[in-house]
């Protein structure tokens, strides 16, 4: 029988020390040991992105990492984004732009979008779509997800969770541009 390992991981700003089997996946550790069920398992095959969390601030698929690999590192899940009971700007943007239907992909979408905006604070629409290529959504058709990331990047989400009217889905902004040229 393989021996267990003691790991210390900071998850959403709280430090945890636990004995784990080496084969325990990070996503199982988060959900089953820490009760952080906000991080979801969609495909369990590294394709859908529903399990996306941040490892030291960078997005990873937690179904494709062992908990022992996170020893000594810091993990942020969707449950760690809100501050003082207030949604983070990206969460507000997803809410306001109607960027979800069933919501299953949403935690992963938001965590990947946050990582994307850290690396590229002002992405183009194409860069947002490329940045989300590892996250699948079976409901929305992506349009409003892209709009939400754009709104969060543009800072057009107000702190009370409302989006100012100039932030709309990209199809509309294309029309505005065309109208301006014509």
């Amino acid at each position: 029988m393989a021996s267990s390992k003691t790991i210390t991981v900071e998850v959403d700003d709280v430090s945890y020390t636990d004995d784990v089997e080496p084969r325990l996946l990070l996503v199982q550790y988060l959900r089953e040991r820490l009760g952080k069920t906000g991080t979801l398992i969609g495909c369990d095959t590294t394709n859908c992105g529903a399990c996306t969390v941040h490892l030291d601030g960078v997005s990873v698929k937690s179904c494709t990492m062992f908990a022992v690999q996170a020893d000594g590192h810091s993990v942020t899940t969707i449950e760690g984004l809100a501050r003082d009971g207030k949604l983070a700007p990206l969460q507000q943007a997803f809410h306001q732009c109607h960027a979800l239907q069933c919501g299953f992909c949403t935690p992963g979408m938001i965590m990947q979008s946050a990582s994307l905006l850290t690396e590229n604070p002002h992405p183009t629409e194409q860069e947002i779509r490329d940045g989300l290529e590892g996250n699948l959504c079976r409901c929305t058709g992506y349009q409003n997800i892209v709009a939400a990331v754009q709104a969060a990047a543009d800072g057009t989400v107000s702190s009370d969770g409302t989006v100012s009217s100039d932030s709309t889905v990209s199809a509309d902004s294309d029309e505005t541009e065309t109208a301006g040229v014509a």
Partner: protein, 284 residues
Amino acid sequence: MIPSAFDYAAPATVAEALGVLADAGDDVKLLAGGQSLIPVMKLRLADPAMVVDLGRIGELSGVRDDGDALLIGAMTTHHEIVTDPLIAEHVPLLAMAAATVADPQVRHRGTFGGALVHADPAGDMPAPVLAADATFILAGLDGERRVAAADFFQGYFTTAVDDGEILTHIRVPKYTGWGARYEKFTRVAQQWSIVAVAAMVRVEGGTIAEARIGLTNMASTPLRATAVEQALVGAPLTREAIATASAHAGEGTDPASDLNGDAAYRRHLAEVLTKRAVIVAAGL
């Protein structure tokens, strides 16, 4: 899906890792980014008794200037290859290919060395590394040995890395000033290459002076399109001349036939993608 149980070691140095490997016997796997190994362990297509994690060995990460070449640590992630300034200046082809690997999350974990040792025929890193004539540096208990890229890829998922050895660095010559392009053909956004072409071209006085072309997924290993390379030398900078040379791209290839396309279709793709890649690399 839950992998079989295994023992886990996370050594801090290459020397320590080699010792652990030697003591562990046959049934041991090295873990790099885990983006190929963990999926196969979850499917229980691999069930090693012991896993040796290279993730804590700092000396294996990063890109260093080494005179006429870059020395790239095996544990350097795809993301680091995409964003590294030395690579952008001297071998941008590597960044272009790495940017097409999987998705951002996988690129944050998956490593340059892991992708090369994994040696998937459809993997995007082997062909550029072969085209660039890189040298692989392997560490073993008896010391270090160097293997040329042409001898490294030996077959379907098979490389020159022996049991008990660790790929520590890849030495990639500089191609400063050469034009480069990685042209990858897929059906959907995030997919392995059906065929891809890695091209580097040096233009001098209005003609192509040198060309290096690597083919992805045109055989069980990456291939050099040597007939195209030879036909391009001295060719004028015209689309017609490049198209004529690119018509040789299928020569000497042995592509698989599968649901994504049969061998004849892949040879056709190789010609079309070679032409596209060289046109961009030559700055047309």
